[in-house]
Assembly symmetry: C2
Homo-oligomer: 216 residues x 2
């Protein structure tokens, strides 16, 4: 699959890129192309060092869209509007939101927008009919970036287009140690986004690190 990662130089984007690039063609996008190229070189070095194949390149965010079938928005919540406004052609792609709107107070709090969730806001801002899914919300970036560490976690996927959701579930399940689950329509995505502040609270109050989730 051809996968573009918008904001791919951030922790989450880099983690996802590293885990996907041995089985897919990954384009790491960034507002600064040079930074994306550097991240792609780091990713290539880490993945091939493990004796695995790796297909990754760095480019602008727009090029990452143009080169891909699936586009992952690895950006902070506050960047959703300006980033989407700066990109074209997303209506022809499957757009994946791993975004979790939250605030850090004495503890982490889920703070969804009036639309109900970050994924629903993404859908509202894109042309009608754009296929939007939520996935990769519970990625603990530090764990995903340490490529020698085996993953053991669940990634719930929400979406309204069954075909697009199937493609994203296949993408998730192509990562060793990761189980993909259908978590319902995009309107159910707030219950998945809400997991991330919960996991951060669990980590914080139980002195744990990089907590992920598994369904039993």
């Amino acid at each position: 699959m051809r996968v573009g990662i918008i904001g791919g130089t951030g922790d989450i984007g880099e983690g996802i890129a590293m885990r996907l690039s041995s089985a897919h063609f990954v384009s790491i996008g960034s507002r600064e192309e040079e930074k994306a190229v550097y991240t792609s070189e780091c990713c290539f070095a880490a993945v091939t060092k493990m004796g695995l194949a790796c297909s990754v390149s760095g480019c602008t965010n727009q090029a990452a869209v143009d080169r891909s079938d699936v586009v992952i928005l690895a950006i902070p919540f506050r960047h959703i509007e300006p980033t989407l406004a700066s990109l074209t052609g997303l209506e022809k792609k499957i757009v994946v939101s791993p975004i979790n709107p939250m605030e850090k107070r004495d503890f982490f709090v889920y703070t969804p927008p009036p639309e109900g969730s970050a994924a629903l806001l993404v859908k509202k801002l894109l042309p009608p009919g754009t296929r939007v899914c939520s996935a990769f919300n519970t990625v603990a970036a530090n764990k995903w970036r340490v490529f020698s560490e085996e993953l053991d976690l669940a990634v719930p996927v929400c979406g309204d287009d069954p075909m697009a959701k199937g493609v994203v579930l296949d993408l998730v399940r192509s990562i060793p140690g990761v189980k993909g689950y259908d978590a319902g329509p995009l309107a159910a995505s707030f219950m998945v986004e809400c997991l991330t502040p919960l996991l951060l609270n669990i980590a914080r109050f139980n002195k744990m690190k990089d907590v992920g989730i598994q369904f039993r």
Copy 2:
């Protein structure tokens, strides 16, 4: 520990009673005492059949409060107000809410009250200073009631009183196969209550049964 279970004849209450009664003194409460006695007899039979000790009795909801140090509200969300209005003495107890406000539409949706969560509503309705925790939200009743089945799941606990939260965590951890986690203050409980409709969606859309959660 002396544990009272309000609404203990329901699926969730019975499941919790069965898992606690070999290590604690459990009083199953009900609006109908006879029903509570019957449930306690079923519980006793199932637990002793496994060769385990069992201390359980059936009584009215008020007696279950009076006899206990920890009171678990195993009631549906819509029963919170009338049930709490019918009971006295809760301000001297540790009150535990396993309640998850939700609706079943095409999928399960978390529907918190204006207070923010069921646990926060419970706290608001009880006298100031009452020690309220949330716990046991993610109990899959069918799994908990099949006593021969080993559990392997996480139970997050929220609360504002550290001592009370410690007691509830000890109670949770006394159940074989169950890991208790501090999930922060009571204001964070909505992110735990939200897990249950998510787990029901995961079960529904992936043809699974009695899905629980584990942190990794």
